[in-house]
Amino acid sequence: MNTSIKYNNKNIRLIVGLVLLALATLPVILTVFVKFYDPNEVNYSEMLQAPSFRHLFGTDDYGRDIFTRVMKGAATTFGISLFTVTMGAVIGTVIGALTGYFGGIVDEILMRVNDCLASFPSILLALVVVSLIDKGTWNICIALGLVFIPSFARIMRSEYLKEKNRDYVQNARLMGAGHLRVVFIHILPNTLPILFSAILVGINNAVLAEAGLSYLGLGVQPPDPSLGRMLSEAKTFLLNAPWYELFPCLEMILFILGLTLVSDNFGVSGVSLSTVKRKIEKLKAEKEGKSPVVEKKEDSPIISVHNLEVGFIEDEGIDDTLRGISFDIHKGEVLGVVGESGSGKSLTAMSIMGILSDKAAITGGSIILDGKTDLTKLPEEEYRKLRGGKLAYVFQEPMTSLNPVQKIGVQIDEILDIHAAHLSEEEQKKLVLDALEDTGLKDAEKLYDMYPFELSGGMRQRVCIAMALIAKADLILADEPTTALDAGVADIILDIFKHINRKYKTAIMLISHDLRVIGKLADRVLIMQDGNIVETMDLKLSGANTESDSSAEKHHKKGAELSEEECILRFGTPKTDYGRKLLDAAFSKKQYKQKVTGKTLVKAEHLSVSYKMASRKQKGLKKVIDDVSFEIKEGSTVGIVGESGSGKSTLVKAIAGLQKYTSGKIELGCPRPSMVFQDPYSSLNPAFKVRRILEEPLRLKNGFGYAWKKQNRDRMLTEIKSMLHKTELEEEILTRKISELSGGQRQRIAIALTLIQKKSLIILDEPVSALDVTIQEQILELLMKLKKAFGLTYILISHDMRLVSRVCNEVYTIEEGKLCKG
């Protein structure tokens, strides 16, 4: 945390909102207890008097005290809105939750009715209902309440539709929680933030709706006041008694404005990013001067980063993320940057490109381009001209990096519009087509007029590379360019980079968490950890362990054709501990296979699962699992490998009992298995604290009401603590939520959760693929240790053949629903 830059983090709007709300509601509450005047007492001797000490807000046309009437009226109006919104929220939530969770025909019908109701403006519905059931305070309550039900039901339904597919719901079902428990105990807390803001908006609307109904004469009946009634009664006295209209209006504005400010700013940071950024820039300028011009040195690198510091603007202060890194990128070289997530790799590249997010700021150091310009001080307009021209960037996510509503050709052409506007339309188009063909895309002419959604991920990434090529950039910053792609496609993309690097002598900064990618392409590699560069390594030439000076030869063999062994050899021996650890973990060959002697635990025979096809094109049944038979021995680790869509998750669900199968049978020699999911962030309930998450299986086992007694809670705590110990976690995390933990900690909790259930069969669904490499090894080790200690049986689902072959006794491959051994 950087303490030299201080700023205000209080959300002023929230405070103003709370003050306004207090101003609007406190006098109302006061007048409930203290009576100054009778709000309905007529006094013809004091008609339409201006505000004075005797009558704070003046009097109306019957000589009644307006202050008392405003307060009484506000109590009525706020009361009506609270009642109607509560009614709408409670009934709407129940309807929305049940229809969203269960779906089916009832859901269909209710949604149709809802669609129709949405076609009637809400005030119209309320009008009709009031006109049908007659006027009066209680009748408006019911009319408005009825009107609010559909909107709450709609909001909650969509929340439940979203939540019900999350892993934590599956996990709760696996633990044995019933549907109603899942709906109201597991999912409901996760929808509360949305419900809360919907309620605030609802109160706001209800206040306005009451006013409207009263204006039309269908609301609260005279002589009783409500804010709406007073506003409409006062309209004839605008000229001679403006205070009559003013004060009820003011009361309403205070209340609604306060409410909106509170609901908009609740839990929102009050830090003004632009103010903080100006402050940082000023401090940096004071320290280092303002001019971007640097004295030119001969033969300087393209980019020379010196002591670069980048921080994120958080509520509490600036969080230092890059802590003074220095390195050069030379002409024509491929510089690899490797490190785990959060080490600052992408941040480094984005700093060079000048496209840091709003929350990040350069707090110190310099980035020198061509030895003459300091990019950190360059005015935005000149910096802009470098982007896409001299410097190009290829992003990780090809699926979202292109504008979805613009044609491919137009998007590439735009770079020429900006950087080479002197070229004619035809010349530009020709260059675009050339660039597309340079990346190995065929039919460039046709691609030109296509939209991104019509292209595969690999094709889109080539389009992104074409964008980097078209202006003949000196440096391409490639940020995890292959991570989102399948293995085969990734190799092709790497080869394209190699081709560009050789053909145009373009320097490439290749960022990846995957040492294999780096090993295939880079000449030099930076290893980053926690915002520092811990080690810089020159990669050796493949096939030879000797250093060579000829750069032409250096490029001779690299790229996709390199085998894993050749990649490892290129790295040599790291000098630092962290470098060694990273390399060991990435290329680990450690075997975890254990001998199996047990009896058969799971036996599946001729298992098939079919889905009904909903689409019109393919009617009938689709077989997802097709006549599958296998056996799993107690104490073994069985791997199931397959690509996404191959049916492996359906097979797992069938074994776990979450999926009904159409034919065949499964025999389990043990209770239903528990499961460790790929992403512990979604498989553990985000609304609960760790302690509550781990208590859930114990609560379920002991029945409803078990946790109400203190002795039972203590007993659960002891059991949880012993489990934390076994999974090598600290006790202090019990009071934290999942979002406050690291990936490794989350996965350990997920494992502890399965152990608490005392199941002997555990399904591991990609248990380590979301984790950093060094953490992966630790989790694997833990899993294997626990397996030995508790005599567990594992079913391991993965797409990673390497992992499976290291861990499993038996491996099955699943392809289009068919299972084969080996």
Partner: protein, 316 residues
Amino acid sequence: MNYYIKKLISFLITLFCVALLSFLLFQIIPGDAAMSKLGIEATPEQVEELRAQYGYDRNVFARFFSWFGGIFTGDLGVSIKYGPMKVSELIAARLPVTIWLGVLSIILIVVISIPLGLICAKKPGGVVDIVSDWVAQLFMAVPSFVQGILISFIFGIVFSLFVPGKYVSPLTDFPEFLQCMFFPALAVALPKIAMTVRFMKTSVKKELKCDYVRTAKAKGCSVNRIMWKHVLKNSMLPVITFIGLIVAEVMAGSIMIEKVFNLPGMGLLLVNSISNRDYTVVQAIVMYIALIVITVNFLVDIAYRLLDPRQTEEGL
């Protein structure tokens, strides 16, 4: 199946359901219109006669289908209050006022809120953003009829810029139409402009966080270019749907505003008919307002489809 045919079918189904709902709502009134017209002193014979005249002696289904047919032929029965006057005649005279008021309001909403939303989102924390945000908050905190009363009072009575309650068709005299309808339309539009600006701002801000904006920035696009060439079209898509939803709000707003300005539209007729318990008229107006809303939303869906290239042939 073709997307447009599918949408048309779903439109017709909603139309039918809305009609059914409008019809059924009025079946829960205790007694019936004949009773309420004649009062409690009427003899059973008189009631029977009137019931036969209104067709209340037939069963519910028969009545619904004859009424449903009436939507298309224009025969929705006779007004209870205004004797032999037909409901359709009453509505036909007032429908143009409401429709023109709505059209003018929506034009105002679109013309003001979309550029304003873009400008605000481009420079969050800037002067325009902060001022418009507070003004919008204020307009959303005051009931629309109070805004109407103030506008009518200030511009109609104090400055005498227009005559409240006067209506001229735009087809006969367009400048005159603008003069008498601009302020009522403004009163309808103001609270919705506030809502739309806020929505537009959120939509643009969400788009600005998308990866393709980062790509555009990396290509060297200026902030203006990013806004107009990339973000505008993407952020317009949700806004179009939002404006479709706003139509229902505009119709609701015009019920209030017609009463405030005493404009001879459907809203005023509705409010008066409710106080007169003229249920045949209320029922028809409710139906027509819903009809306008679903028709506009149907058109919005089509427009969305035409603007967004992503929706393929089979898509919904």
